[in-house]
């Protein structure tokens, strides 16, 4: 077990290293960068004070050095102007566009993103699992067709359109203010009870909008998995033992049909951060998605690099977590030979 973990952690480290190199060099690929573009602009305007600052930043972040050296400084294995100070040391770099450290730009947005998407994931599971069980146990019934039909509508509706419609009616009927994750008056305020309440009421629309898109797919997959398992012999055995229908279903086939979803956690985690960019833009949610988009557009290299690395870390960790969970839940994986 410990050897397995150690081996996995080492491979995770190597994977992340490769990803970090790819991320850095791909961001660097287009000619120019945020600062040199800005300096060119400032020179044209002749503001010497700003030019001095920009040149200070270039020195500070070694932007005049070759790309591979910048990379090594960024991840923190080569001393920069301030000694070792990179991702490994917890220094996430400077955002040129916002003129702030990356930590301050991302900070709130990161956990609000996690909150919104986590709520959406919960919503997807809470809605789709009961529907899937219903459709699978009553295959080809009217209810099954109805659930499938509604699910498909959810899948086919563009989420931004649904977002706009919902926003309009929520505002008209319930007076919920439009956009953002809390009312404008709370921006920059400390977290008070009132701000929390405002947050919760604003959370409703994004959760439903982001969630509905995933619900249909989830129902279909869960239903198909469950149908496969319902045909298995051990379910007949459970019924032949005298188990009631609900208990027999939940203890045996349902439990078996969960495995693919646990295996999916690795994919789900990064989605929590990078997913739902479009909806966030439409609803003007202060989440990471739009920030990443603009950072990539303006070649704000440390900000974009950090977000991408964060997603990569989540992916790798998610894979490990799902592997461990699977091993915990399925004895065949725990004890079976990996031939």
């Amino acid at each position: 077990m410990i050897r397995f973990l150690l081996r996995r952690i080492v491979t995770m480290g190597v994977t992340l290293l490769i990803i970090s190199a790819l991320v850095f060099f791909i961001i660097k690929l287009p000619p120019g960068d945020f600062l040199s573009n800005q300096i060119a602009e400032l020179r044209a305007q002749g503001e010497s004070a700003s030019i001095a600052k920009a040149e200070f930043l270039i020195k500070q972040y070694g932007l005049d050095k070759p790309a591979w050296q910048q990379y090594l400084v960024w991840i923190g294995v080569m001393p920069g102007p301030n000694g070792f100070s990179g991702l490994l040391q917890g220094d996430w770099g400077w955002s040129f566009e916002y003129d702030k450290p990356v930590v301050d730009v991302i900070g709130d947005a990161l956990w609000l993103t996690l909150l919104v998407n986590f709520a959406a994931v919960i919503f997807i599971h809470v809605v789709s699992i009961p529907i899937a069980i219903y459709s699978a146990t009553r295959q080809y019934s009217i209810g099954d067709y109805l659930a499938t039909f509604i699910g498909y509508i959810g899948l086919a509706t563009p989420s931004f359109l649904l977002a706009l419609i919902l926003l309009y009616y929520m505002n008209r009927w319930f007076g919920v203010s439009i956009g953002g994750l809390y009312d404008a008056q709370y921006a920059g305020e400390p977290w008070t009870w009132a701000k929390m309440q405002s947050l919760l009421s604003h959370l409703l629309v994004p959760t439903i909008v982001i969630g509905l898109g995933g619900t249909a797919a989830m129902i279909r997959r869960m239903r198909a998995n469950l149908l496969d398992e319902l045909g298995k012999q051990y379910y007949v055995t459970a019924k032949a033992k005298g188990l009631g229908p609900t208990k027999a279903l939940l203890k045996y086939p349902f439990r078996m049909s969960l495995n693919p979803f646990i295996a999916d956690i690795g994919n789900l985690l990064p989605h929590l951060v990078s997913g739902s960019v479009l909806v966030s833009l439409v609803l003007s949610l202060p989440t990471v998605g739009p920030i990443l988009l603009s950072a990539l557009k303006s070649q704000d290299q440390f900000l974009a690099g950090f977000i991408l690395m964060f997603v990569a870390v989540l992916t790798v960790v998610g894979m490990l977590v799902s592997d461990l969970l699977l091993a915990g839940l399925d004895p065949r994986i725990r004890m079976g030979g990996g031939r």
């Binding site: 007949v236 030979g337 990996g338």
Partner: protein, 621 residues
């Protein structure tokens, strides 16, 4: 007269399918007396399993009981209950199911949930039906596990089904069925998926438990040998109707109905005459096979296929958390020789290495040492050193017939595509020539030309197996490797396929390596038989001398364990009970082989060789 435990009257079960109503059970009437075993015999599709499911009310959603009654007289007292009139999910039905009537199934692997320990699954059955806590239930579970023969019941509580052998899994199933002390045990093909020696032990166990608890058994099987050994009464079903019913004596001594007589003639037996032919219920007819001539080819002087000192090891990792690697020797020093135009039977229980040998011969696996020689008339060549054209020629000459006729045919290809695929791969003939060849092949295996455009799913198991044979014959091979070609088939169809293979051999001059666990089948088709155990060939002889004079203890055990459909030759359960026949280190001298040794083949009469242990080999030298 005492009322029977269960009496079924005029039971009818209908299936609602897209193609309309289908009557699976049609006016079935039978009685199961207290403490007796009733065998329900028939081919697949005869409605015997549906009857069992109707008794427990666990029919699939498409099926329902349309008329008739199933009256259960509980020996514990209480009024008689008509099961057919109870709703399937009523409390009364839940109490009966698993509590008073329990069931075991054919596939012990799939019938147990792989995610739960067997302790959990067995104690659950008890806790549903009686008011006990988990600790008490565990205690009872350990008792019943010990009773059905688990060596360490305490550890068994915490084991998962996939950690157990097929025999132990079926014992766990029996424990689960019997922990509630039911009055009736329904056993649906309980031993079909098991090896013969394990089958004998399981049958013995069911018999013993029956004597102990006084329960009745409804045994569903297609194996007349099993019926002859354990049943008190026999009911023969065909297409949902009862053809014949009576006591075992009556049925076996004096079969009246033509169907039953035909069924009995279709089973291979040991006491068959040299040239006696099985009579399938539906014979395959081919217009051209009788006149077909073997292609003119140079015949090899020696055997066409020869294996020398084959050894194959597999590395087994015991789970990825521990990471310990373990070497398992699957095949040890195997020598085989297949003469041209003859059949060599390779017999052994599951896991003895017989499939590995056939895969090495096919070049799907490389041996760790030893070699395979193939002689197409130009002298023997090492198969594993062939390259280029010589390898392609070898692939053409040696074809494979698989065990499972359902998964070995691609469901998305028509019969025409399936049969021409080998020709296309080897780039033989124009499309017109291929069409002619396919028509000829279909006729050889007795299938209609109209089936060319159909897909495999519209054929029965036997027809599919014949398609598999036709595909193997497409390239005019010289050797067919048959890996358990009939073990997935019903007895009636089995006879048909065996006869077809025999006819093809004499018409086309084919050589067969016939791998099977069924001694009677091998006896019917093979000229020479090699018995395999734990990777060793333990005995090899022409079939007459092997059955007349089996020398090796493992061969003897294997022969003793085959249930013969002849009530004058019952199984000797007492002898089989003692047995650890498949442990080379526990064989009596001079056969004992210590771990790490190979022993030696010793010829005891012409062509009859037996493996003896190291000590004896030294003495002989």
């Amino acid at each position: 007269m005492e009322a029977p435990l269960l009496s079924v009257r005029e039971l009818t079960v209908d299936f609602n399918t897209d193609a309309g109503n289908f009557r699976a059970v049609n006016g079935l009437t039978l009685d199961i007396p207290k403490g007796k075993t009733v065998a329900l015999v028939g081919e697949s599709g005869s409605g015997k399993s549906v009857t069992a499911q109707a008794i427990l009310q666990i029919l699939s959603k498409k099926a329902r009981i349309t008329s008739g009654s199933i009256v259960f007289n509980d020996p514990r007292g209480g009024a008689a209950i008509d099961i057919a009139s109870l709703p399937p999910e009523s409390d009364a039905m839940h109490a009966l199911r698993g509590g008073r009537i329990a069931m075991i199934f054919q596939e012990p692997m799939t019938s147990l949930s792989p995610l739960h320990t067997i302790g959990d699954q067995i104690s659950e059955a008890l806790m549903i039906h009686s008011d006990v806590d988990q600790a008490k239930a565990n205690q009872s579970t350990m008792d019943v596990l010990a009773r059905v023969g688990f060596p360490d019941p305490k550890r068994a509580l915490k084991t998962y089904p996939f950690e157990l052998s097929g025999g132990l899994r079926q014992r766990a199933m029996i424990a689960m069925a019997l922990i509630t002390r039911p009055a009736l045990l329904i056993a649906d093909e309980p031993t079909t998926a098991l090896d013969v020696t394990t089958q004998a032990q399981i049958l013995d166990l069911i018999k013993e438990l029956q004597v102990e608890t006084g329960m009745s058994v409804l045994l569903i099987t297609h194996d007349l040998g099993v019926v002859a050994n354990v049943a008190d009464e026999v009911v023969v079903m065909y297409r949902g109707r009862i053809m014949e019913a009576g006591s075992r004596e009556n049925i076996f001594r004096n079969a009246q109905h033509a169907y039953l007589q035909a069924l009995m003639r279709a089973v291979p037996r040991f006491a068959m005459e040299e040239n006696e032919r099985l009579t399938p219920i539906r014979e395959v007819t081919s217009s051209t096979l009788a006149s077909a001539n073997a292609p003119e080819r140079v015949q090899p002087k020696g055997p066409i296929l020869k294996a020398e000192h084959l050894t194959k090891c597999f590395t087994l990792r015991s789970g990825w958390f521990s990471g310990k690697a373990q070497d398992i020797r699957a095949v040890s020093e195997v020598d085989l020789a297949l003469p041209a135009g003859k059949t060599l039977g390779l017999v052994g229980e599951s896991g003895c290495g017989k499939t590995t040998v056939s895969k090495i011969i096919m070049r799907a696996l490389n041996p760790n040492s030893g070699r395979v020689l193939f002689d197409d008339g130009t002298g023997p060549k090492d198969v594993h050193k062939l390259e280029g054209d010589a390898l392609t020629a070898y692939r053409r000459s040696v074809q494979f017939i698989f065990q499972d006729p359902f998964s070995s045919l691609n469901p998305r290809m028509t019969v025409y595509e399936l049969l021409t695929e080998p020709l296309r791969i080897h780039d033989i003939g124009t499309s017109d020539e291929r069409y002619e060849r396919v028509k000829q092949l279909l006729d050889m295996v007795g299938l209609d030309q109209r089936s060319l455009r159909r897909y495999p799913h519209s054929f029965s198991g036997g027809q599919r197996q014949r398609l598999g044979i036709a595909r193997a014959l497409a390239l005019e091979p010289r050797v067919l490797l048959c890996d358990e070609p009939v073990s997935a088939l019903d007895v009636s169809v089995q006879a048909q396929v065996l006869n077809l293979l025999k006819d093809l051999q004499s018409a086309l001059g084919l050589s067969y390596l016939f791998v099977s666990h069924n001694l009677a089948v091998v006896d019917y088709i093979a000229d020479t038989i090699a018995v395999m155990c734990r990777g060793y060939i333990v005995e090899e002889a022409p079939k007459s001398s092997l059955f007349r004079n089996p020398v090796h203890p493992y061969t003897q055990a294997l022969l003793a364990a085959v249930p013969d459909p002849d009530i004058d030759r019952p199984l000797d359960f007492a002898k089989l009970r003692t047995g650890r026949f498949s442990q080379p280190s526990e064989w009596p001298e001079p056969f004992r082989i210590k771990p790490g040794e190979f022993g030696l083949m010793k010829e005891i009469e012409p062509g009859h060789k037996v493996r003896v242990g190291h000590l004896t080999a030294q003495e002989a030298a």
